[in-house]
């Protein structure tokens, strides 16, 4: 695949998303803007997972844990700030915040920390065991969120209004979209840098040949763990953004369906393609909208479509696009 052509597809994707949101704004279609925002957020979550799954070969079926924890960090901080109950009294009193600039780093930190814990244990296993243990950890947190009543339990936790960002009216759909869009750009750039760095080289090599990477003196476990932590942090940021989009967070963001969906974005778009998750998330959400307009049972058709993709286009959308572009160009 030629680099310039795939760059053209990437540019088209990202410009398309921006253009769609801006058009929707001009035409006063807030619903479309929300859809575009959702795409941007899910793409960030997918980019996070792609780093572990696509580049590192770590098939995590538990990324809902990071997405959900990011979401809950956002919800919990905001709810404490609004009801003035201190979140902690020691070592200093902290009563939450409604500033996105504070919420994001905390969400990233907490979900990275969780990824460190989960990864440290899970990476002792490989193959199916890894898939299942990551799933199990996510379920553990899911059930905890359901049965822990302080933050709403099964009913979830509303945050009522969006958190604030200096100089921006976050409740205006297009302005919140732009925040998410810029974060998407930053995530994409960051990821492309990481993938091409020494660390990225070692990570991709470790996916293909553990023995070889070990034999040149690189600690594969450490490389994978660090990748898993970064991956969890990025996905956690997406979770925080998602809470603000909905002004609500509930245990459903922690459910294994969420893990499955993030995985679908990655695979639908094309594993280990930098822009794959964006393509996948866009396709998924547009499909949801289009199919949902035809039938209440749209998930059935989505399932059928996914099956076709897995069976007949295993390289995903980006793979197919690049291939057809090449054969026609």
């Amino acid at each position: 695949m030629s680099i310039t052509k795939s760059n053209a597809i990437n540019t088209l994707l990202i410009a398309g998303l921006l253009f769609a949101a801006l058009c929707a704004h001009v035409l006063s279609e807030p619903f479309i803007i929300t859809m575009a925002t959702k795409i941007a957020i899910f793409a960030i979550a997918g980019i996070g997972l792609n780093l572990a799954l696509g580049y590192g070969g770590l098939v995590s079926f538990g990324h809902a844990a990071f997405f959900g924890i990011g979401g809950y960090v956002c919800g919990i901080l905001a709810s404490h700030a609004r009801n003035f109950e201190p979140l902690t009294t020691w070592p200093f009193e902290f009563s939450g915040t409604t500033s996105m600039l504070v919420i994001w780093p905390i969400a990233i930190f907490v979900s990275s920390l969780l990824a460190l814990l989960i990864g440290a244990i899970s990476l002792r296993t490989t193959g199916v065991y890894f898939i299942m243990i990551t799933l199990a950890f996510a379920q553990m947190i899911f059930y905890f969120a359901i049965s822990w009543p302080t933050y709403g339990g099964e009913d979830g936790l509303p945050t009522y209004v969006r958190n604030s960002f200096p100089g921006v009216n976050t409740l205006n759909p297009i302005e919140y979209f732009l925040i998410c869009f810029v974060l998407l750009l930053i995530t994409l750039i960051l990821c492309s840098i990481i993938v091409n760095s020494r660390f990225g080289l070692a990570l991709q090599a470790a996916r293909q040949n553990v023995r070889r990477v070990t034999s040149v003196g690189i600690d594969v476990y450490k490389v994978k763990l660090v990748a898993f932590v970064i991956s969890g942090g990025i996905t956690g940021l997406a979770g925080a953004l998602y809470t603000d989009l909905n002004r609500f967070v509930s245990p459903s963001v922690l459910s294994w369906h969420t893990s499955g969906e993030i995985m679908i974005f990655v695979i639908l778009g094309g594993v280990a393609h930098l822009f794959g998750p964006l393509a996948g998330a866009a396709l998924f959400i547009v499909l949801e909208f289009v199919l949902g307009g035809f039938t209440e049972y749209w998930q059935m058709w989505l399932g059928a479509l996914l099956l076709l993709v897995v069976l007949y286009a295993p390289k995903g959308l980006m793979g197919a696009l690049n291939a057809s572009w090449r054969s026609h160009g």
Binding site: Y129, Y143, S147
Partner: protein, 306 residues
């Protein structure tokens, strides 16, 4: 808290474990023999439950419903295997997870389309609905007891099948060496379809029985599926014996944890928070057990190298 209550909870745990074994045995066979992760196994459980409910409602016979759960789930399993699953054996785990996740969507929404979103209820026949008195004066539901016995019999049947019969030899050979077994002249495609259908039938039966205790509804297979995965991962993937041990362990730990943990916390806490913390922890307990097992034995209790 009385001894009677504890024994009753232990029996409930066993009954739950036995149900999990019916699910887990199919899952672990399919993985052991074909190397396939089948997330759609829970859908076959749901298919069995709906088949039982539909046939029982149409004919008025619960027994026909139970038979239908076996037959319909086996048929659904065979059809899915022939049409889709077969193409996935040579693929990586990632493709398998995604394709079978997609199958869940198709099955769940398809069932919702056919039967609607409201739960269906099954009436257990008169003779099974009472309770029996066990030695020691404990009264226990006859139907639950029957589930335990049925599950135990199926476990014995499966162990005998795997270790004593020709089919079992083929299955075990298939686990270790696909090429050898096809060189021996065994029709490997047919063997795979049979194994898959067998696992599906057991899942369907489990679905029908649990559906009789609770309710029959779309999505009922998913929580059970994940527990079944926990079971086979604890037991070691591919091992029927591991599935049995893991299922009973998970059944007991989960049931007793939900019962005992709140009581335990109540010793040193006020009742309300003891109940909250206790039940929150109890719902996480089996996952902690699983993480613990994998920490010390990364391939499960009875697993070979992954």
């Amino acid at each position: 808290m009385t001894t009677t209550l504890i024994i009753e909870q232990v029996l409930n745990g066993l009954q739950f474990g036995v149900m999990l074994f019916l699910m887990a045995s199919g899952l672990t066979l399919v993985f052991g023999v074909m190397g396939l992760i089948n997330l759609a196994h829970g859908s076959l459980y749901m298919v069995g439950a709906f088949a039982c409910a539909a046939v029982a409602a149409a004919t008025g016979s619960y027994w026909l419903g139970l038979a239908a759960s076996l037959v319909v789930a086996a048929m659904a399993g065979a059809i899915v295997e022939l049409l889709i699953i077969r193409k996935l054996y040579s693929r990586g785990h990632l493709d398998q997870v995604l394709a079978t996740f997609a199958l869940i969507l198709v099955f769940s929404e398809g069932t919702r389309w056919l039967f609607g979103s409201f739960p269906l209820y099954l009436n257990v026949p008169e003779i099974l609905s009472g309770s029996v008195e066990l030695p020691g004066g404990i009264h226990y539901s006859l139907f639950r007891l029957l589930i335990i016995v049925t599950g135990a019999l199926i476990a014995l049947f499966l162990l005998a099948l795997i270790h004593k019969t020709r089919l079992g030899i083929q299955i075990r050979a298939g686990e270790s060496d696909r090429e050898m077994i096809s060189a021996l002249g065994v029709n490997i495609d047919r063997l795979y379809t049979i194994v898959f259908a067998l696992g599906a039938a057991l899942a369907g039966l489990a679905g029908a029985m649990v559906g009789s205790l609770q309710s029959v509804q779309v999505g009922m297979g998913e929580p059970v599926l994940i527990l079944a995965f926990v079971v086979i991962v604890i037991g070691g993937i591919g091992s029927i014996k591991g599935a049995l041990v893991g299922a009973v362990l998970v059944g007991l730990v989960d049931t007793l944890g939900r019962f005992l943990l709140p009581e335990l916390f109540a010793i040193f806490m006020d009742p309300a928070s003891a109940k909250a913390i206790g039940s929150a922890l109890a719902s996480m307990l089996i996952y902690m057990v699983m993480a613990g097992v994998l920490f010390f034995r990364p391939t499960g209790l009875f697993g070979l190298n992954a």
